[in-house]
């Protein structure tokens, strides 16, 4: 069973055991507008919580995507390289960015559940 958590920087994490799948929220893609390029971290990179992990570029501007938690990058969504518009059409589904091996489960405690995130973006 997966649990979805959110950051105040508009990333989502689907937690499945000790693996988190990370992407940007539907709210974030709406704010960004048409996404034209996504730069993903290298598989194997050890990310520290809050460091810039990926970049998402809309027609208007480039935005950093921060590592919501610490851990090693296990897999990245190569499909976003050829179809960055997936971020607009399915931000919280097919347009996941990367999967990370959760280094410290206590970091999850600082994240929001869906109700808290909804209140955050209201």
């Amino acid at each position: 069973m997966t649990t979805t958590l959110y950051t105040s920087d508009h990333e989502w994490l689907a937690i499945d055991g000790d693996v988190a799948t990370v992407g940007i929220t539907d709210y974030a893609q709406q704010q960004l507008g048409d996404v034209v390029f996504v730069e993903l971290p290298k598989v194997g990179r050890a990310l520290k919580k809050t460091e810039a992990a990926a970049v998402v570029e809309s027609v208007k501007a480039a935005s950093d995507v921060y590592a919501p938690i610490s851990g090693e990058v296990l897999e990245v969504n190569e499909g976003l390289a050829s179809e960055p518009a997936l971020v607009n059409s399915d931000a919280q589904g097919k347009a996941w960015f990367f999967k990370i091996k959760i280094a410290d489960k206590s970091e999850l405690g600082g994240l929001m559940d869906e109700a808290a995130y909804k209140a955050h973006t209201a």
């Binding site: 507008g33 048409d34 034209v36 390029f37 730069e39 027609v59 208007k60 501007a61 390289a81």
Partner: protein, 377 residues
């Protein structure tokens, strides 16, 4: 008069309420609250303009009339020639041309459009420069001209392959106009100034309309299913693909018209001087400028944006220039940029590198416009 929002002192154009009602996302731009995009989004707005027609509110730009005190247009034309390296005297009635105000060092104070309206000249200048431009004109031309700033008019651009058919429904004479024709025309019974020009690389028109009639005219044009409202986001990507300069970014007080690759805009008849900065600009014509504005195409998919340093190779530590504007070109489905580089590195096909987030991305100097223009000449 244009309304002023007291809370943040941003000005609003006569079409502000219309933008809001159309779902425009309003942002501060050159002292105005302007729509950066509508619900369709920048990509769709851009592509729609190239395939059909887009309506742009460019009322933030300055509209200024120069009326000769002598009553002879040639005197206003001669006076304006003291401030620009363009041939204004030879500009025929009903015609418009692109010009630049230059400074004593040959740099560009602003770029503008100048039209001959028969008994006066009509100027359209950039929003961010309009107060300085007006002061410059008053300080330098008041002996010869009445400088009349038209603050009570909106400016609407209608651009794209369907623009002519749409405008012809309201102004039968529009179809007979050629690229850079300009003059007073009735549009839907309203006294307008219409020019066949724009800032997208597409065929189209710019329509100066009294502020009180602007919303009615904009709505009438938008009632046509071929026309979508277009925000500043797509206006920028359209002009970038068209290879057109954005003042304050690709050109400014430190770039001469030759460095800006705008030689075509300086008529041969003026390459003898008589304008600010003539010594520098004529020397650039004679000996070549040391640097030059070029088009840049990336080999990868990552947009290369304004300010990115440019390098001659993948490892050198000293930048040779920088990107002056850049982003994603929706019609090309690829990144596109302009930059300023040493003339030695400005030849088409030259490989350069831009540094983006610590990585060197390969670029090639490419011909502009990036997208073929469709002006009706």
């Amino acid at each position: 008069m244009l309304a002023r929002d007291d809370q943040n002192s941003l000005r609003r154009t006569p079409l502000y309420a219309l933008h809001v009602s159309l779902g425009g996302k309003m942002v501060p731009f050159a002292g105005y609250e302007m729509p950066v995009q509508y619900p369709a989004g920048v990509l769709k707005e851009h592509v729609h303009t190239r395939s059909s027609a887009g309506l742009f509110d460019v009322s933030h730009m300055g509209q200024i009339r120069l009326l000769p005190k002598s009553g002879r247009l040639e005197d206003a034309a001669k006076a304006l020639e003291r401030l620009v390296p363009q041939d204004i005297v030879a500009l025929a009635p009903g015609r418009q041309r692109y010009a630049q105000f230059t400074n004593a060092d040959g740099g560009i104070l602003d770029d503008l459009m100048v039209a001959n309206f028969g008994d006066h000249l009509f100027l359209v200048v950039n929003a961010a420069c309009k107060a300085e431009d007006e002061a410059h004109l008053r300080a330098r031309l008041s002996d010869d001209c009445i400088i009349d700033s038209l603050a009570d008019r909106a400016l609407i651009a209608l651009q794209g392959p369907k623009a002519e058919a749409v405008l012809a429904k309201f102004c039968a004479e529009a179809s007979a106009m050629k690229f850079m024709d300009a003059g007073p025309r009735k549009v839907d019974g309203i006294d307008c100034f219409v020019s066949r020009s724009g800032y997208t690389g597409e065929d189209g028109f710019e329509i100066s309309v009294p502020a009180g009639d602007a919303e009615r005219l904009a709505k009438a044009l938008l009632d046509n299913s071929d026309v979508l409202p277009i925000g500043l986001g797509a206006r920028d990507s359209l002009r970038l693909e068209a290879g057109l300069c954005l003042y304050g970014h690709d050109i400014d007080t430190t770039t001469t018209p030759v460095e800006a690759a705008l030689e075509w805009s300086v008529q041969k008849s003026r390459r003898t001087g008589g304008f600010p900065g003539a010594a520098k600009i004529l020397a650039d014509f004679d000996q070549g400028a040391s640097r030059r504005r070029v088009g840049l195409r990336a080999e990868g998919r990552a947009p290369v944006r304004e300010g990115a340093p440019l390098f001659a190779d993948a490892t050198s530590s000293e930048p040779i220039g920088k990107v002056t504007s850049g982003g994603f070109g929706p019609s090309l489905n690829a990144p596109v940029a302009m930059g300023c580089v040493p003339t030695a590195q400005s030849a088409l096909g030259t490989q350069l590198f831009a540094e983006v987030r610590g990585q060197r991305l390969a670029l090639q100097v490419a011909a502009m416009p990036f997208v073929k223009n469709t002006y009706k000449r």
